[in-house]
Assembly symmetry: C2
């Protein structure tokens, strides 16, 4: 399955760039992982449309609540929808964040829900939702 | 744009059936809104693959924590990805749920993140993630 391998590699490359850009707090490099018309919804349900709006929003949060944050792990699961479209779930862990009140927000975990699109040889993020997962009660 | 109108109508029809089936606590009718190979992730990050697995899981929760629950509102936002694929965000409100400890879980709100696919004239759910939104701090 050469096509699936190439898609997987292209998707992984973009996710690597995403993580590096996050950890460098570089909003421009971060936004380069997205399509021009990309659509992003954060854990509060706030919605940002366009690569520019995503760059601006991340410039804000990279200089405030996520200034000292690092993504330590990203674990992906891919469902190919067509040759050009993939749904990608990414479980992530983050250290060093603070919340909107300035309190430590340690060991954040969550799930990125991505729809990615192939543009020539690049796999870019067309839609991203960031989910904070609820904890299951222990039995 | 006749095509977009038809897609919008087809998507709305499936969402209407989804809501009616939920409110009737009918797992079979609920699962009929999904493709055979559908992929569902709940607010805890638990993942269920296939229409059958989704039906079984909903039969369980319709007879327990969601036995007396009703969806009161569903508000959709559609982003067409191709003629056959749509990303659909649905903000929902629910009353009458209880949590896993048996305590009331009143006025739940959240966001369904759907990827829907046209199969002949039916728009079915290929992927669904259910997000519980975090509350923004008041300023």
């Amino acid at each position: 399955m050469a096509t699936a391998m190439n898609a997987e590699q292209g998707i992984q490359l973009t996710l690597n760039n995403f993580k590096e850009a996050w950890n460098a707090h570089d909003a421009k490099a971060f936004a380069a992982a997205f399509t021009e018309d990309a659509d992003f919804t954060n854990v509060f349900g706030q919605n940002f449309i366009s690569r520019n709006a995503i760059e601006e929003q991340h410039a804000r949060i990279f200089s405030t609540i996520f200034k000292a944050s690092s993504i330590t792990e990203m674990k992906k699961r891919i469902k190919m929808i067509s040759d050009e479209i993939a749904a990608v779930d990414v479980n992530w862990n983050m250290i060093g964040a603070v919340d909107m009140h300035g309190n430590p927000w340690p060991n954040r975990k969550g799930l990125l829900v991505l729809v990615m699109k192939r543009e020539n040889d690049n796999w870019l993020i067309l839609m991203m939702h960031n989910m904070d997962l609820l904890q299951l009660p222990s039995h």
